[in-house]
Amino acid sequence: MNRTVEIVGVGWSGFRSLTPDQSYKELVFEAALRAYADAGIDPRRDVQGFVTAAEDYHEGTSIYDEYTPDQLGAAQRPMHTIGGDGLHALAAAYMQIASGLMDVVVVEAHSKASNILSLPHIVAFAEDPTFERPLALHPVALAGLEMQGLISLGRITEEQCAAVVVKNKRNALRNPSAAHGTEVGPEEVLSSPPLASPLTSLMAAPHADGALVFVLADTERARTLKGEPVRVRGVGWATDTPALDSRDWTGARYARKAAQMAYRIAGVQTPGQEIDFAEVDDSFAHKELLHLEALGLVPSGRAGEWTLEGQTACSGSIPVNVSGGALGEGSLLDATGLSRALEVVLQLRGQAGPRQLPGVTTGLAFAWRGLPTAVGVAAVLSA
């Protein structure tokens, strides 16, 4: 490896269930302005490259990447889109810097989920057109099948999933950027309207609008900037398979592989000990449990118990989704991974306000690409 990479600025806007007062461009501009102020840079002068993560059908625009540059200050600059999660975009920026090609690269992702009137159709549109889509199922069926499969194996229980929801929605109450924080009891979670048994509506992350912008720089350049750098010690991303028949339904191979890569680059050998806290995908409550084990943060088969024991609570041995996660903040579509990473950055900088964890130095952000994929991205960040 040639160079080390830092996050030197973060900015965000929105994080509400609706944002009717701003267009997507205005929402992104605001987040960008904040990130550049945080890093103390001028995007027109100091930035060599820009990367956005976005998908056409989330925007309602074919070739959406056309509309990415202006609100970021990226017009007439090296800029490209990643059809992936915001953390994929962060990994792309990381590589551009590590290669020596660029010193400062900006990453952006956003959600205007509220503007999509037919989201289940669009998620179904990601399924195989010959073997899956003809069944015309609401795609949440896939989440229900996964959850039931894990229950059948005795890996998790519904009560443990409910505990994840209770924890994350409560955590979100201390996060002013969380749209869906609330007090809810496990019984309410279990008795909320079913989506795809045993999955209930409170176990599925609602959506939110928002934009995030990160500024990354190589360590040497970071020293000359005013921002408080957080080291990107490792990134990792992996795809299992799009096929339902041959994917790993019980072990989240995508998460395991992504984490292995990130840990290898970061030099993390015992994640359970070296990672102080984690922000991991919880698009569905059972996913948090599945991911914690696949990421090696909790011993195999113990994630549910650990959650019930409070070990993943803010005061526990491995706080998970202190931000509220997607269950508490709302899923931000392609920006979800950056919202996980944002919390890690704020915690490591000591800027997390009332939810600040004491003495944390290393955190993990992990994103899953959402239904119907088996794709994950991980980033290990250190103060």
Partner: protein, 168 residues
């Protein structure tokens, strides 16, 4: 030689589909949206309803940006104020279009053009259609003016301008 690295992919003809020679599935899922117009576009559309074209001034580069936006993409700062533009402009480029998007031929050619508006910074145009002009008479640099729908028919849409016509 590279020939051996070309896979002999199976090409089909439309008649293979018509004759049922090949199995297909179809999908007509919904992809529907309601996009927040936000500040700049919301105001722009509202002004169209009133029969006005507006831009935004950047206090840094002094350009009047059109179509309006709340930020200057070159200076990267918020734009400062609304400016009402004229109703006239200049054709920067145009085309005579004989086919619809699905390649069906049109009876009358459409004449899309980029029109740089008077009162905006130089070269700041929008896409619209030309009307009341014979296609062969359209020229680069032609001066044109907006032709509006009647006020009661306007709905706050770019189509509140029916087209631009030559200034005689």
């Amino acid at each position: 030689m590279m020939d051996q690295w070309v896979y002999a992919t199976t090409g089909l003809h439309e008649k293979d589909f018509e004759a049922g020679q090949v199995l297909v599935e179809t999908w007509e899922g919904k992809a529907e949206y309601a996009w927040d117009t936000g500040i700049a576009m919301g105001r722009f559309l509202e002004e169209l309803r009133r029969g006005r074209l507006v831009g935004r001034r950047c206090n840094s580069c002094r350009r009047i940006l059109f179509p309006p936006r709340m930020f200057c993409e070159l200076c990267f700062r918020p734009t400062a104020e609304w400016v009402t533009l004229g109703q006239t402009g200049t054709v920067i480029t145009y085309s005579l279009v004989h086919v619809r998007w699905d390649m069906v031929r049109l009876e009358q050619p459409q004449v899309p053009a980029v029109i740089a508006m008077d009162g905006a910074a130089q070269g700041m145009g929008i896409l619209h259609l030309l009307g009341e002009v014979a296609p062969e008479k359209v020229k680069m640099g032609m001066r044109v003016q907006a032709v509006w729908k009647p006020a009661e028919d306007r709905e706050g849409s770019i189509t509140d301008i029916r087209y631009f016509k030559p200034i005689r």
